[in-house]
């Protein structure tokens, strides 16, 4: 197996994540897209680790950190979604443009 076959999948996930981030109106959906992107990075890291095979398995360690952080981000994100939803009765991103210019 080539490294690249994983990297391409990662690139695809990452790009899809961007797509989702840009088109989704619901905040939760946006968060899902972000998870895709973070996951793509994990694929990269693990694939590289499998290629490099460093003594400390740095890639895998890194990906564990990323997973952890991603979980934390989701927690924060959902907290914010709840906060907003309670005040606005909406989780649609484009409803929020009180501040501009």
């Amino acid at each position: 197996m080539m490294v690249n076959q994983f990297l391409v999948i990662a690139a695809l996930l990452f790009s899809l994540g961007i797509y989702g981030l840009l088109v989704r109106r619901n905040v939760v959906m946006v968060l899902l897209a972000v998870e895709l992107m973070l996951n793509a990075v994990n694929i990269n890291l693990v694939a590289f680790e499998a290629w490099i095979r460093s003594s400390l398995a740095v890639g895998q360690v890194f990906s564990i950190f990323v997973i952890t952080i991603a979980a934390a981000e989701v927690g924060i994100g959902l907290a914010i979604v709840l906060l907003i939803f309670r005040n606005r009765q909406s989780a649609n991103v484009d409803d929020f443009d009180l501040m501009k210019y």
Binding site: M1, V27, V28, L56
Partner: protein, 184 residues
């Protein structure tokens, strides 16, 4: 090594199977017009990713992914969806349709860029030690030795997310309610 050789390796069949599943489900994550479906497709994507990890000798990471993501994060998402989706007042599309063309172009461009750079850089480099999972002990030692500091710090990230998340997400009592409760 040409494509036929590549195809001759059985592991690549597995790869193709899992990979296409990951891609399809990821695609559905961002295109599905049903929020719950979208979240479930994320589960599929992540599960597929975990499969890929297994292929890449990252057993431990694969299970972490399954546990943390599928076990916790996606549940969290579903909660979020339930809370925010249920009382939707207006019937609006899930996507901002006007944004689609630009977003599609951008993400396609990004994909081309990312894959081009990667393909150019790594060519036909092969992953090693397929089927030789990294011993979890190594990971454990690394995490508590060389990476003990980030490990500790990441705990504070989680703690902060927890404490802050709760504070932010909880509903504040109105002064009246507060008084009531104080009286009790």
């Amino acid at each position: 090594m040409d494509f036929a050789d590549w195809l001759a390796q059985p592991v690549n069949w597995v790869y193709l199977a899992i990979g296409s599943a990951v891609i399809v489900s990821a695609f559905k994550v961002v295109t599905s017009q049903n929020v719950v479906h979208a979240a479930l497709f994320l589960v599929a994507t992540l599960a597929g990713t975990a499969g890929l990890f297994l292929l890449l000798a990252a057993e431990f990471v694969a299970w972490v992914l399954v546990l943390v993501y599928i076990g916790a994060v996606v549940v969290l998402f579903l909660f979020g969806i339930m809370i925010t989706r249920a009382p939707v007042v207006r019937d609006v599309g899930l996507d901002n349709k006007k944004a689609r063309p630009l977003a599609a172009v951008l993400s396609l461009g990004l994909f081309l860029l990312l894959s081009y750079t990667s393909l150019l850089a790594f060519g036909a480099e092969q992953v090693q030690g397929v089927g030789e999972p990294t011993p979890t002990a190594i990971l454990g030692e690394a995490l508590l030795g060389r990476f003990v500091l980030p490990f500790e710090i990441v705990g504070f990230v989680l703690l902060a997310a927890l404490v802050g998340g709760i504070t932010v997400a909880r509903r504040d009592l109105t002064p009246a309610e507060e008084e009531e409760r104080g009286a009790v």
